[in-house]
């Protein structure tokens, strides 16, 4: 694999370590065109991909004093990026699994509902379904279904009772189910139509 010029990057890293925001911007601009298509290719939803990219570079900034110890900045950035892409792929897998169970409860097979969707459409659909939930409910749903937290941990984390967590999960599942049913009947063809036009 051809890496970007290591000496240039090392120089940028040194300047960033000293708190130089211009150097940081230069680094960000240099890597964005390569990393954004890469991450978007795997996470599919651009909003999520942008969040990940911001996260990577804000972390680099937050730990800037340590950058002088990185001998190959390009390889280092790629490594962080691939790891985050994998983490998010895993999350998608967990979400899809949860969604499939919810859909199955309606007596419909995943194939019926999602069979005609491409990976990008499917991920966008999951994203929309989860983001149609109210803030707190969404947070709880994501912690339990994506991150695998126990009800007790979520309760402690948010300072609410375990019963509230359980109630919110039930409500979230119902809402997602409704979303799927509605989408299965109306919205999915509509989305497809719009996508095809583009």
């Amino acid at each position: 694999m051809k890496l970007a010029s290591t000496t240039d990057d090392n120089e940028l890293f040194l300047q960033i370590a000293e708190g130089n925001e211009r150097a940081f911007e230069a680094l960000f601009r240099k890597y964005l065109p390569r990393l954004r298509p890469f991450i978007t290719g795997f996470v599919k939803v651009e909003a999520v991909s942008d969040e990940i990219l911001q996260d990577i570079f804000l972390k680099i900034w937050a730990n800037r004093t340590q950058l002088t110890h990185v001998s190959n900045p390009c390889a280092w950035i790629y490594k962080i990026s691939t790891n985050l892409a994998i983490d998010h792929l895993r999350r998608q897998a967990a979400e899809y699994k949860a969604l499939k169970v919810v859909a199955g409860e309606e007596g419909r097979q995943a194939d019926d509902l999602f069979g005609h969707l491409t990976a990008r459409e499917l991920q966008q659909f999951i994203y929309d379904a989860v983001h149609s939930l109210p803030e707190q409910r969404r947070k709880i749903y994501i912690l339990v279904k994506e991150s695998g937290w126990s009800h007790r941990e979520v309760a402690d984390h948010l300072g609410i009772s375990v019963q509230t967590v359980k109630n919110q999960i039930v409500s979230a599942l119902k809402a997602i189910q409704t979303y799927i049913i509605q989408s299965g009947g109306v919205y999915i063809p509509l989305i497809l139509l719009i996508l095809k036009k583009i």
């Binding site: 694999m1 601009r29 290719g41 942008d50 911001q54 994998i86 990976a119 499917l122 984390h157």
Partner: protein, 394 residues
């Protein structure tokens, strides 16, 4: 499934050509293969080597602006936190209290009957070298403390201890040193040979190799320390805990370039757990025989031999010791006394039992013991000093 099949699946997924069955196959395989290393190699191939011209500019402006904006917010927020911390330190006491029963009338705090005990003004830390010899850090001037092969142990002008590598032959045998910070000693700040920083609280010790050889960086901690670990994914950083006689405490914190605090004092009798609190980055907390946990910034993992619990905590409270004050929030009475014991090198005793008083707020660590006790007296704690013993009567 072999690598070729996986690569094809990823390829189709990436280009949005995978069927639902293929997506499901990929997800299933992901779930079955949790190790990241294999995936890293596979995914790396998808990062484009060259970028089409014209790809670089305006298209990404919104993202760049968004991140640069957050940079400034983050900076100013930090500055504010630092200012807030120093204001509290200057005030000495920023204290609030409540008691279960409102105490009426004056509260007796007996004057100390011996020389007044002040806050530690010096650092009494020592380093035990591999050959057993002991270096007293406070008694030596700045500069070189010891030469270990091609590694120099130096004391910097700001009192920080650091290991510096010089050119020349490399240490053949890994050597372990132990930094011990006794009770009644100021916090000591040390830099390991890889650039990682460790702040060691009073009554704590850490054992570490002078130079990290091999594929990992492992240190052993007793007591409390705050770490700022240099990222080096090829050499994961581990903090281990030595089991104590009281209970079998073991466990590991695996670190990926990060800021975190570990409280593993074994004298906190009502707390049978090691507390790992994350400020930034990522750490995995594990103990043989139980599932490991990765915690997020702002979370604390409580590690016992039976399991790991994760909770949200106030980072300002947890980091009080490093920022110059005692934290009283969310702590048992005995835990608060443990802090005083270590800082003033005294022993608290409870002839009338442990008082049922809830305390909260913060007390500056630069106060003398008498001043601190007066503050506690205001909250209904009755006590007196006898030599180095603090007798709590109510």
């Amino acid at each position: 499934m072999n690598t070729e099949t996986i690569t094809q699946l990823l390829e189709r997924y990436f280009h949005d050509q995978a069927t639902l069955a293929e997506q499901e196959a990929l997800f299933k395989y992901l779930e079955e293969n949790p190790g990241n290393e294999q995936w890293e190699t596979l995914l790396l191939k998808f990062i484009p080597e060259a970028v089409e011209s014209g790809e670089r500019e305006e298209k990404y402006n919104f993202l760049v602006k968004s991140v640069l904006g957050k940079l400034k917010v983050r900076n100013s927020k930090r500055r504010w936190l630092a200012v807030a911390a120093s204001v509290i330190a200057l005030l000495g006491v920023g204290l609030y209290f409540y008691t279960n029963h409102k105490t009426a009338g004056p509260v007796a705090v007996a004057a100390p009957d011996s020389a007044p005990i002040t806050a530690p003004s010096a650092n009494r830390a020592t380093i035990t070298l591999a050959d057993g010899s002991v270096v007293y850090l406070d008694s030596v001037a700045n500069g070189q403390l010891a030469q270990l092969g091609n590694i120099q142990l130096v004391k910097l002008a700001n009192g920080q201890i650091a290991y510096r590598t010089a050119d020349g032959q490399i240490l053949k045998e890994p050597q372990n040193n132990t930094l011990t910070n006794p009770r009644g000693s100021r916090i000591i700040d040390m830099q390991l040979s890889d650039g990682s920083h460790v702040w060691l609280n009073a009554g704590s010790s850490i054992t570490y190799p002078v130079f990290f050889t091999g594929n990992e960086r492992t240190v052993t901690l007793e007591g409390e320390a705050y770490f700022e670990v240099t990222e080096d994914k090829s050499k994961p950083f581990y903090v281990r805990f030595s089991p104590t006689s009281k209970e079998e405490r073991a466990g590991t914190v695996e670190v990926l370039g990060t800021y975190f605090n570990v409280n593993a004092y074994s004298d906190e009798e009502n707390i049978k757990e090691i507390k790992v609190t994350l400020l930034e980055g990522s750490v995995r907390v594990s103990n043989p025989g139980i599932p490991s946990r990765i915690i997020n910034p702002g979370q604390q993992a409580g590690l016992t031999k039976n399991g790991i619990s994760v909770r949200q905590v106030d980072l300002n409270d947890i980091m009080s010791w490093k920022n110059g004050y005692f934290n009283l929030n969310d702590l048992a009475f005995t835990e608060i006394m443990n802090q005083l014991e270590r800082w003033y090198d005294i022993d608290a005793v409870y002839p009338a039992g442990v008082p049922n008083i809830g305390l909260f707020g913060k007390i500056g660590r630069d106060l003398s013991l008498a001043e601190t006790l007066t503050s506690l007296g205001d909250m209904g704690v009755r006590c007196r000093m006898e030599g180095k013993r603090l007798i709590i009567t109510k």
